[in-house]
């Protein structure tokens, strides 16, 4: 099994990561993985975080199919092959 996790990027944030739908990122926790993306793509981080270490409240993060708020939040541990989905509220209709 690979050491990286797959991070799924929502449409709204793809321009900030070079128009990629998903990225393979290494890291032991959700904070590590998002932090690594933040240093590589600062504009992406600006959209994701409300403040240092605090995600915007209209964006949810799921590891596989579980909400990190109901696990260890940003400290939620990851293992190789996990899928991290960044899911914003979808407003259109």
């Amino acid at each position: 099994m690979s050491d990286t996790v797959t991070v799924r990027i929502p449409t709204a944030l793809r321009p900030q990561v070079g128009d990629q739908e998903s990225l393979e990122v290494a890291g032991g926790t959700v904070a590590d993985v998002l932090g690594s993306l933040n240093s590589q793509y600062p504009e992406f981080g600006k959209r994701l975080y409300k403040a240092q270490g605090e995600l915007n409240r209209f964006i949810n993060v799921y590891v596989n199919d579980e909400d990190i708020r109901f696990m260890d939040n940003l400290a939620t541990a990851l293992k190789g092959g996990d899928e991290v989905s960044i899911v914003p509220a979808i407003a259109g209709g």
Binding site: T11, R57, N60, A91, G92, G93
Partner: protein
């Protein structure tokens, strides 16, 4: 089989449906909030399934760019300038004459949503609220009403090639207690929309139909998923209602079901846990709305506590008089539902639409202050 049931034979064959389920549908009253891309699919399928009473509320009229995805409308509706709710009612009359439709051409806001969901004359409290909305403010209002009055509410949203849906079977009692609703007794209550998304995305942050576009299948899939959940709720198949939130991306080929059930237990939701209905109380909300899919602003000129305003009696605006005044500025057309005028102001072209309930839509700007200024100059605030 009695004659009125024959047309529903194929769905009645399903386990858990039968004549009992069909009779429940025929007795059911559903509020469809918004009749655009999601709402037309929802209204169409609920009517075909035989839901007895539909209340369809929409503030908009039909444009040519709607026809790509809004399945109940056609070119003649665009030509005639028919409001969406009214056009939907006319189409449904030809699809299923057993269904009663109330078409309400109005903005849904904190002053009227409770009445729409619980106190409409001849309808009373609806059994279900369906989300055909294009903004989060109205969704939180629907969510507030659903939780406050114990009405199931099925969220749906779509933009671009992505979409989401989730069925809310609301908690109606304080934490630790069990409410009287069938879903609470069956231990099938679900977290509300604010448990899952505590806040709406601020304007300009998320893609809209303007910036990202939208394909018909994204909205159709989401809306039909909402309808499937609705059929489960209305026929009493509560065990089958999904406890997860659907997320799809048709371009990335991703279909996910996120687990959200713990959001109620773990979170401190203002709405369903603390029973603090901030949107319904008017704490949040605006009197202007930037419209998804168009370079336009809606002005809601209703007074929040004044039922006798232009909104109340529906016909206070004198379209003939206004048309006379506006003809000097450009093309003006009017029917009994609306007046539309092309206006060039300060070298910029705008399209002003007035509705007989006191609302206005100013096309050609995304800025509320510009829209207000246009209205004040040419109509008079």
């Amino acid at each position: 089989m009695s004659q009125d049931l024959e047309r529903y034979h194929r769905q009645m064959l399903l386990p858990g449906f039968g004549e009992t389920g069909q009779r429940r549908l025929m007795d059911a009253k559903v509020l469809v909030v918004g009749c655009g891309a999601l709402g037309t699919v929802i209204a169409n399928m609920l009517a075909r399934a035989g839901v007895g009473h539909l209340v369809i509320v929409d503030r908009d009229f039909i444009e040519i760019t709607n026809l790509q995805r809004q399945v109940l409308f056609d070119e003649s509706d665009v030509t005639e300038g028919i409001p969406k709710a009214e056009a939907a009612k006319r189409k449904i009359a030809g699809i299923n004459s057993q269904v009663t439709v109330e078409a309400i051409v109005d903005d849904v806001n904190h002053t009227n949503i409770e009445k729409l969901a619980t106190g409409l004359e001849g309808v009373g409290k609806v059994d279900l609220i369906m989300d055909g909305v294009d903004n989060f403010e109205t969704r939180y209002l629907a969510n507030d009403v659903a939780v406050k009055h114990g009405i199931p509410y099925i969220y749906g949203g779509a933009v671009g090639t992505v979409g989401a849906s989730y069925a809310i079977l609301p908690h109606t009692a304080p934490p630790g207690e069990t409410g009287d609703t069938p879903w609470e007794k069956a231990e099938r209550a679900t977290p509300c929309l604010r448990c899952i998304f505590e806040q709406a995305p601020p304007p300009g942050v998320n893609p809209t139909c303007d910036t990202a576009g939208v394909i018909g299948p994204a909205v159709s899939i989401v809306a039909n998923y909402q309808v499937a959940e609705a059929l489960k709720v209305l026929t009493g198949n509560l065990d089958a209602v999904s406890q997860t939130m659907l997320n799809i991306d048709l371009w990335a080929n991703v279909f996910k079901q996120f687990k959200v059930a713990r959001a109620y237990d773990v979170g401190e939701c203002e709405c369903c846990k603390k029973r603090n209905f901030e949107f319904l109380d008017g704490k949040f909300g605006s009197s202007t709305t930037t419209l998804c899919g168009r370079n336009a602003v809606q002005l809601n000129l209703k007074s929040a506590d004044d039922d006798s305003s232009a909104a109340g009696n529906g016909h206070k605006l004198d379209f003939t008089e206004i048309a006379k005044r506006l003809e000097a500025h450009g093309r003006v057309t009017a029917n009994k539902f609306m007046l539309r005028a092309d206006i060039t102001d300060n070298g910029e072209p705008y399209e002003l639409t007035l509705f007989n309930d006191g609302r206005a839509i100013v096309k050609g700007t995304k800025h509320a202050n510009v829209a207000k200024s246009i209205y004040a100059k040419y109509v008079g605030a």
